[in-house]
């Protein structure tokens, strides 16, 4: 019974937050409602005994990534309300229809056995004494090479982010003497 109540509350949190992200006029509200969605998904993870993933979800997603979003919103100064009017009139109904088609397609495919009837191939979920040990054992033995590759990916992303956010020469963007003086 507790499970059902927690599930309903988390579902309301997730879907309400998601709808809020899409419909709110202010990007800051969108970012904060995104936190609600992410926390709700973390609750789903806990309910399915995926404790390590739930902790990482809260630490990485709900804190680091959303803080990054808020930081960029504040840095760029777009924290004001914007019009939700669409200059292309037919775009919104078409988008809603396409969304309905996507949902129907996912639910249809999810009900078929040939789409979701795969068998276990990466080891049992109950191999170790707890969830952290099981995931870590798989991550550092079977998936060691992809794990090392993610390190390379993160380094590339950091270097790329620095290069993109840096002012790349004066001829491209025009001079900004104030910011240059601060360096």
């Amino acid at each position: 019974m507790v499970n059902v109540v927690v599930f309903i509350v988390a579902t309301v949190l997730v879907l309400g937050g998601a709808i809020g992200v899409v419909t709110s006029r202010n990007p800051v509200y969108s970012a904060l409602l995104l936190v609600a969605t992410l926390i709700g998904v973390a609750v789903f993870f806990v309910m399915q005994q995926a404790h390590l993933v739930a902790a990482v979800q809260v630490i990485v997603y709900a804190s680091a990534i959303v803080v990054l979003f808020l930081f960029v919103i504040m840095l760029l100064g777009v924290d004001r309300e914007e019009s939700l009017e669409d200059p292309i009139k037919f775009q919104r109904p078409v988008a809603l229809v396409l969304g309905g088609v996507v949902l129907a397609e996912i639910l249809f495919l999810g009900g078929r056995h040939w789409a979701t009837g795969a068998h276990s191939s990466a080891g049992s979920l109950h191999g170790g004494s707890n969830n952290v040990e099981t995931v870590a054992r798989s991550l550092f033995t079977q998936y060691l090479w992809p794990f090392e590759l993610t390190a390379a990916l993160l380094v590339i992303a950091v270097v790329g982010g620095v290069l993109l956010a840096r002012r790349s020469g004066q001829r491209a963007g025009g001079p900004a003497p104030n910011e240059e003086a601060n360096r």
């Binding site: 499970n3 059902v4 579902t11 997730v14 879907l15 998601a18 992200v21 899409v22 990007p27 970012a31 995104l34 969605t37 998904v41 309910m47 399915q48 005994q49 995926a50 993933v53 990482v56 979800q57 997603y61 680091a64 990534i65 990054l68 979003f69 919103i73 840095l75 760029l76 775009q91 988008a95 396409l98 969304g99 309905g100 996507v102 996912i106 639910l107 999810g110 979701t116 276990s120 080891g123 049992s124 979920l125 995931v135 798989s138 991550l139 998936y143 794990f147 993610t150 990916l153 993160l154 992303a157 950091v158 982010g161 620095v162 993109l164 956010a165 002012r167 790349s168 491209a172 900004a176």
Partner: protein, 105 residues
């Protein structure tokens, strides 16, 4: 336990499908680049939830390990994407996708 609803994996899958759809519609509907980006995060989260649910349903640790890699890719994507958004903002004062419909600077 008769008469009590038990939460099976299918409930999570339906919620994940609806979450993915909301994210997809958000990407199509919104014009603010930052909000579009958040909607992409919604879609990534829906996929993560699906992975964890199947990991539980199939008793397979691979789903939870894949969520880790998805998280790493999402973090890298946010870092690069926000860098691009900051670069666009430097060039022109606006955050709508309509402003960058041409490749020319």
């Amino acid at each position: 336990m008769t008469g009590v609803i038990t939460i099976t994996g299918n409930y999570y899958l339906v919620v994940a499908a609806v979450l993915f759809t909301i994210g997809a519609v958000g990407v199509l509907v919104r014009r603010n680049v930052l909000v579009m980006f958040m909607c992409v995060e919604l879609m990534l989260n829906a996929v993560n939830l699906t992975f964890v649910t199947f990991s539980k349903m199939l008793n397979d640790v691979g789903g939870q390990v894949t969520v880790f890699f998805t998280l790493v890719v999402a973090a890298a994507e946010v870092a690069v994407g926000l860098g691009i958004i900051v670069a666009i903002f430097r060039r022109r004062q606006g955050a709508t996708a309509d402003d960058v419909n041409a490749l020319k600077g």
